[in-house]
């Protein structure tokens, strides 16, 4: 018969003497149970992106408006020399996060001066099962695929912008030399990298325990209002939180070693001073660790905002202030101006 040690008395206990709470905890863990399961009820099925009936519009492969590589089947030489910005959204988000910038670019100077290619990250914008089974490497894959597609179609003036985890993925690609690898990416190198609220250190420090308590907790839902639930996953399975921390942590330690951008590329980062998702110290990590090809610092600006991804104002629970709108338009204007008028 199995016996257990009573440490205080130094004796072996029969199973009947084992405390009830120890038996419960052991059974719970043994059964692989989790405190909060990923669930999707009727409200979720009908109105949330988690359910699958409300996919992001860019999840549809036949959609020609999201990706510039699909928008123009046979671009002429003028189009090929138009600046294109590949925009990558953040964790649990969708291309909705860059909608306003897309509209801004469409109306800039009568339209057509800057093209915005809204990339839907892998595992995002489809349904919660796809998200739960995805890794951070899959999240970032569509960014490089769109870059390669643009180069193969003859586009010569390509820049990249990332918000939150989208920026973290771009940093990871810079760190591992993805833009210096392969015939397409060495043929046309990125002009600009723009980072909006890059996530290197999460504000919620408990995320660092995701590998330890995550399997027990299971899921950390983050419900918003109906608009947010239609564009951001509400459920945040522990598998994805672990992936997120792993990515952020990896980028952080690579930034500590320092790495350079491809020759001719430039970068600029903006960071909210008060951010409930990405710790503002993330901006310092990026500024110290990321250098241009000559070893110089990138451009950085701390902005007076309390919003995470301050460039996205639509769909916020509280209406944006005049200062928020002004800041958003200023940053959009700077990005558009940089890609149009600044030569590497």
């Amino acid at each position: 018969m199995t016996r257990f040690m009573n440490f205080r008395a130094g004796r072996w206990l029969a199973p009947s003497k084992i405390p009830w709470w120890l038996i419960s905890l052991g059974t719970f863990l043994w059964a692989g149970c989790q405190l909060v399961d990923v669930t999707c009820d009727k409200e979720c099925q009908d109105g949330w992106v988690d359910g699958g009936n409300h996919r992001d519009t860019c999840a549809d492969d036949s959609n020609k408006t999201c990706l510039v590589s699909r928008r123009f089947s046979a671009p002429d030489s003028a189009k090929k020399n138009t600046p294109v910005i590949i925009a990558a959204h953040g964790f649990t988000a969708t291309t909705y996060e860059w909608d306003e910038f897309g509209k801004f670019a469409d109306t800039l100077g009568g339209g057509g001066k800057v093209l915005v290619s809204k990339v839907l990250l892998g595992g995002h914008g489809r349904n919660i099962d796809t998200f739960q089974n995805s890794t951070w490497r899959e999240w970032g894959k569509p960014i490089l695929e769109e870059y390669d597609s643009l180069v193969s179609k003859g586009y010569t003036h390509i820049s990249l912008a990332g918000s939150s985890t989208g920026a973290t993925l771009l940093l990871q690609y810079l760190a591992d030399g993805s833009f210096n690898a392969g015939p397409l990416r060495t043929k046309v190198q990125p002009r600009w990298f723009f980072f909006i609220d890059p996530l290197v250190v999460p504000t919620a420090k408990l995320l660092s325990l995701a590998n330890i308590v995550g399997p027990l907790l299971g899921n950390s839902p983050n419900p918003g209002d109906s608009t947010e639930n239609a564009h951001w996953y509400v459920n945040r399975p522990e598998e994805d939180l672990r992936q997120l921390y792993s990515l952020a942590n990896r980028v952080k330690y690579q930034l500590e070693d320092g790495f350079n951008m491809p020759t001719g590329s430039q970068a600029k980062e903006w960071k909210s001073e008060h951010d409930n998702s990405a710790d503002p110290v993330s901006a310092l990590f990026v500024y110290k660790g990321l250098r241009n090809s000559a070893g110089g610092h990138i451009q950085a600006e701390m902005v007076d905002s309390r919003l995470h991804v301050f460039t996205r104002l639509q769909g916020r629970r509280s209406p944006p202030s005049h200062a928020d709108t002004l800041l958003q338009q200023t940053v959009f204007g700077e990005i558009a101006s940089d890609v149009q008028f600044t030569s590497p």
Binding site: L206, L209, N211, Y245, E256, E273, D279, Y287, K288, M302
Partner: protein, 177 residues
């Protein structure tokens, strides 16, 4: 020396003078603390620590430690780290001070800050108080003349803007003076 380090040392000195000096055991050691997150590439902070215990402090079961930990040595290998310092006062309760294996409970109380280095980042809140609880053990070697210790625990203060993570561990060694 920062005002916080001065305060920590003053507290340690006051506690030390409150007991009979001739009964005191002083130790000198090195402590390394790191984050616990089960990911590669942890942050490590290293530095000296001093310890004091006395027969009147629970028959040497209560040991008072002071430590200065820094990650500045990591610059040798990782040139772009954010430089951090910690000033810690650590009361330790030993359950088996006279034994080879000595379970311990320890609190870390103190202060940390990191260097912002550039004016652009002057708005960053670069400091935090520290309060951590840890469990561990010490190995008393050569009748307690030398020893090793290990402890792990939880940081109770993890500011949203800062570099203090909840999970931590520490290892170290000491020699009796």
């Amino acid at each position: 020396m920062t005002p916080y380090l001065r305060k920590a040392l003053a507290v340690l000195a006051i506690l030390a003078t409150g007991v009979c000096a001739d009964e005191g055991l002083w130790s000198l050691g090195m402590r390394m603390e790191g984050d616990v997150d089960l990911e590669p590439g942890n942050e490590y902070m290293l530095g000296p620590e001093i310890g004091y215990s006395n027969f009147d402090l629970g028959a040497h079961k209560l040991q008072l430690k002071g430590a200065f930990l820094t990650n500045r040595a990591r610059q040798l290998l990782h040139k772009d780290i954010i430089k951090q310092d910690k000033y810690l006062f650590s009361p330790v309760w030993h359950f088996g001070r006279n034994n080879w294996f000595d379970p311990t409970v320890q609190a870390d109380l103190g202060y940390m800050h990191y260097d912002r280095e550039y004016r652009i980042f002057s708005s960053l809140n670069n400091s935090s108080w520290i309060a951590a609880l840890q469990l561990g053990f010490a190995l008393n070697l050569f009748q307690g003349e030398y020893g090793l210790f290990y402890h792990f625990g939880y940081n109770l203060i993890t500011p949203s803007s800062g570099l203090v993570l909840p999970g931590l561990f520490g290892v170290g060694l000491w020699v009796m003076l």
